[in-house]
């Protein structure tokens, strides 16, 4: 198996995996970064979203082989102490029910807000539309994204 060197959460990590192994499973099974979740494997639920060069991407769809030279951030690397404004907002609003999809939701929201710091309600709803929350905590997700935007503007 080939060895790939991936830049993840600011560190170079080498993994020995087949070229088609999705980034999701590299993170979870080889690098012990299990915050990124498996939900569907077909890019439909967003539970596996990570940042690749700042963009929220479904890590279940992208093979490790294509990730060399990219800057990858996972939920574990989003902030030092869980204090990214989006994480703080998630905590204040107490978003999670089962909590499984929330890392993916947070990664989508943080990438979106980095590009659009003053979103409208409709823009928030569109940006978060790709992430499924089976517990349907959508009202709180929407509020938390709006609150995070406020925090980032302060």
């Amino acid at each position: 198996m080939p060895i790939y060197t991936l830049k993840i959460n600011g560190e170079d990590r080498s993994v020995d995996v087949s070229s088609d192994t999705p980034l999701l499973w590299v993170l979870r099974d080889y690098l012990n970064l299990v915050g990124t979740k498996y939900g569907c494997g077909v890019g439909q639920c967003g539970a596996c979203n990570v940042h690749v060069d700042g963009n929220a991407i479904q890590s279940c769809l992208i093979p490790a082989a294509q990730m060399e030279g990219k800057t990858i951030t996972t939920i574990e690397g989003l902030s030092e102490d869980g204090d990214h404004p989006v994480q703080q907002a998630w905590k204040e609003v107490d978003v999670p029910q089962c909590g499984y999809c929330q890392a993916g939701q947070i990664m989508t929201a943080s990438s979106f807000l980095a590009k659009n710091p003053n979103p409208t309600k409709d823009q928030i709803r569109s940006a978060m539309h790709g992430n499924i929350c089976r517990c349907a905590s959508y009202n709180r997700i929407e509020r938390a994204v709006a609150l995070a935007a406020e925090k980032m503007g302060e």
């Binding site: 494997g41 909590g99 929407e142």
Partner: protein, 723 residues
């Protein structure tokens, strides 16, 4: 002010205290024994050890309190709310409380179940008693040290104070307290003195969730563990004939391929064991297997016909019969009959089914997300022919349950595979496995017939035709039972080889829509206000002596009035179409009003106003989350949810073709709790059933189209509904 507990159970029978070796005090209690009306412990209290208890409070010498919460957490919030109740009566600041998931083993833990919205309701008295008893023991210890009578001391916020104003922290007296007799008569707080109950407490796992720390079954791993991806018969009713693993065995990471399923060395499933999840999933796809037909392969088309035949037939079982509905129909001015239809639904927990098993000669170690740890561990012991005490089961947080994790099929799979492979194994379902190897909400059809006379309903006949199981016995005693002189509920079922089971708010998740939508249509036919019609019907139930009646007409009336007031139902706004529903299930009374507007000629569900009476709201922050989630889930599944079968094969297997509600379709949920001090009831389920009903009625007003079938999106004249 204090109140004594009306339930006469003895503290001695479910509480035991002990000094901890490292300092501090341990209070053990058997939550679920204590919750039963008649407490029956198996042996003399003196011989009990801590293994007979299923929940613990640990008070350290520094005053910090750890509460080990026994119940499975599936997102319903009990891991936060149950300890809050204990902390209230123990009277410690919530910030001094650390909550841990109970250390689990099936020998020592009993009746740990998450299901039926019962955790809080059944735990209420016992949790308060436990906290209050521990507090009294701490007071007694402090009083003894001071040489005063305990009645001269009081405790608050973790500090005991005597009449001279001297103080001792809980931590300072735990050593002595642990050695004292368990007091029999302790008083409970007056609800108006609550400092923790009724305040907002965040999810106790919030920090781990937002930073991606391992919590869930899928995150669990041990050294040397392999991943098992399982190939199951593609159609319900098929059996495995043969398979060829030659290609697969050469694939990267693959360790072993084995047939299993009957715990005897055979079976209809094939497990592919590999070093990583991706390797296991990929190898499973490359497996070639031949299947033969065992039992008939069923299709939705046949189900539809079979269920309609059952509804029209005479072979029904009567669950409740008041008066004579046939007479009411004969004497009616008008008879209205409608049929309502629902599809199968998969649960679609975001965390696919998975479980870890390590079967060794010494013990059977099981780890993962399960709603029924005890029953499942017993089944594993039985199947593996092991002693129950050799099975050690640990629960992880669950990425959703919705009923699916009541069933331990995936635990049995993991145990059998590990037993055969002699390795630690984790079975991981792909999303496709999860959706196609389900234990589904069965397809159900209802037929409701009403006799109308003198502008009122004079008779009501509800018939249910369901796949496999029929409604549970309490449901026929929900509204409108008791409100009508002539009332009858009949059921019939069709035995299918497609596996079915509980799905969030079983039966009522669809029955509510059928019944409430029917009432709305009746009100339309009678030209009366649908809300007033419900209120009028409830009057007859007041003061009923029929002990079978499950709901309270007074509490139902109150949620109806509250939702009418808060939703602006009496002051309609141009262009906003409102649908009203009132429903009781899982011991909680709920009324909802859905607002639908037309945007670009499409109906959009904008908002749902909810009035809930669940008694005391233990944790409002968590309770609101449950209500909001239940309502949006109810809207989503009645609008979009559907699974069909063709020749035994589920016709969709992933989210590209199975539609779950998403952000843009989610209505805003506005929640109002009835304020009272009645014992709390659960919230995991009861707000879901009314949501689909309220939406269907609002959609009727908006589009003119009365809905009789779920999912609504396929049955509206409009091509599409967006949010």
């Amino acid at each position: 002010m204090s109140t004594t507990n009306p339930h006469a159970f003895s503290r001695r029978t479910f509480l035991r205290t002990s000094a901890l070796a490292g300092g501090g005090m341990l209070v053990g209690f058997n939550l679920f024994t204590a919750c039963k009306d008649k407490v029956q412990m198996p042996v003399d209290i003196a011989s009990l050890d801590f293994n007979d208890f299923n929940a613990f409070i640990k008070i350290a010498e520094n005053g910090m309190v750890t509460i080990f919460s026994p119940n499975p957490e599936i997102g319903q919030g009990v891991k936060t709310a149950m300890p809050m109740i204990i902390a209230e009566e123990l009277d410690v600041p919530w910030k001094h409380v650390h909550v841990a998931q109970g250390i689990l083993d099936t020998k020592n833990y009993t009746r740990q179940v998450a299901g039926g919205s019962q955790s809080i309701r059944q735990g209420w008295d016992a949790l308060r008693q436990t906290g209050a008893t521990a507090k009294q023991m701490l007071i007694n210890a402090a009083a003894a040290r001071w040489g005063v009578d305990p009645s001269q001391c009081r405790a608050s916020e973790g500090v005991i104070t005597n009449e001279k104003g001297e103080t001792l922290g809980y931590g300072e007296v735990v050593k002595e307290a642990a050695l004292l007799e368990v007091p029999e008569d302790v008083s409970l707080k007056d609800p108006k003195d609550y400092k923790i109950i009724g305040t907002d407490a965040r999810n106790v796992d919030i920090d781990k969730i937002i930073s991606g720390q391992p919590l869930f079954g899928l995150d669990y791993k041990t050294e040397g563990m392999v991943i098992a991806s399982v190939l199951r018969p593609p159609a319900f009713g098929q059996q495995l004939e043969s398979f060829d693993d030659s290609e697969v065995m050469g694939m990267e990471g693959v360790v072993q391929v084995l047939r299993f399923g009957d715990f005897k060395g055979g079976g209809d499933k094939i497990a592919v064991l590999a070093k990583s999840t991706w390797q296991a999933m990929k190898a499973k796809k490359a497996l070639r297997a031949q299947w033969s037909d065992g039992t008939p392969l069923e299709s939705t088309k046949n189900h539809d016909k079979l269920l309609l035949d059952l509804l029209g037939g005479t072979k029904m079982k009567t669950l409740r019969k008041d008066g004579d509905v046939q007479k009411a129909f004969r004497e009616a001015d008008q008879v209205v009959e409608r049929t309502y239809e629902s599809p199968f639904l998969p649960h679609n927990c975001m965390e696919p089914m998975n479980f870890y098993a390590n079967v060794t000669p010494e013990r059977v170690h099981l780890v993962g997300p399960i709603q029924t740890p005890k029953g499942t561990a017993e089944r594993v012991a039985e199947q593996l022919e092991r002693k129950p005490e050799e099975v050690y089961l640990e629960m992880t947080r669950m990425g959703g349950g919705f009923g699916r994790r009541l069933y331990g099929d995936f635990v049995l799979e993991a145990a059998e595979i590990s037993h055969l492979a002699k390795k630690p194994v984790k079975v991981v379902f792909s999303r496709e496995d999860d959706m196609t190897a389900g234990i589904y909400r069965p397809a159900i059809k209802y037929r409701i017939k009403a006799a109308l006379k003198d502008g009122k309903i004079s008779g009501y006949h509800l018939k249910e035709a369901s796949i496999n199981r029929n409604m549970y016995g309490l449901i026929p005693n929900f509204f409108p039972a008791g409100a009508l002189e002539h009332y009858q509920v009949d059921v019939a079922n069709y035995e299918s080889n497609i596996t079915t089971g509980a799905w969030r708010a079983p039966y009522t998740n669809f029955l509510s829509f059928a019944e409430q939508s029917f009432f709305d249509e009746i009100a339309e036919i009678l030209d009366v206000d649908p809300v007033q019609m419900r209120l009028d019907m409830l009057q007859k139930v007041k003061g009923t002596t029929d002990e079978r009646i499950q709901y309270s007409p007074e509490r139902m009336e109150e949620v109806i009035q509250l939702v009418v007031e808060k939703s602006g139902y009496r002051n309609p706004v141009e262009g906003v179409y409102q649908g009203f529903c009132a429903y009781y299930c899982h011991n909680t009374h709920v009324a909802e009003v859905a607002d639908v507007v037309m945007e670009n000629d499409l109906p959009v569900v904008k908002k749902v106003t909810v009035a809930v009476d669940c008694g005391v709201v233990v944790n409002p922050l968590g309770a609101l989350n449950q209500v909001e989630g239940g309502v949006v889930d109810g809207v989503g599944h009645s609008m979009y949810g559907k699974l069909t079968f063709r020749d035994g094969v589920p016709q969709v297997n992933n989210y590209d073709r199975y539609r779950l509600i998403r952000m843009k379709e989610a209505p805003k949920v506005e929640t109002h709790f009835v304020k009272n001090t009645l014992s709390p009831t659960g919230l995991g389920e009861p707000t879901l059933p009314p949501a689909g009903a309220a939406v269907s009625i609002a959609l009727k007003k908006a589009t003119g189209n009365r809905l009789y079938k779920q999912p609504f999106v396929e049955n509206l004249a409009q091509r599409e509904i967006i949010g």
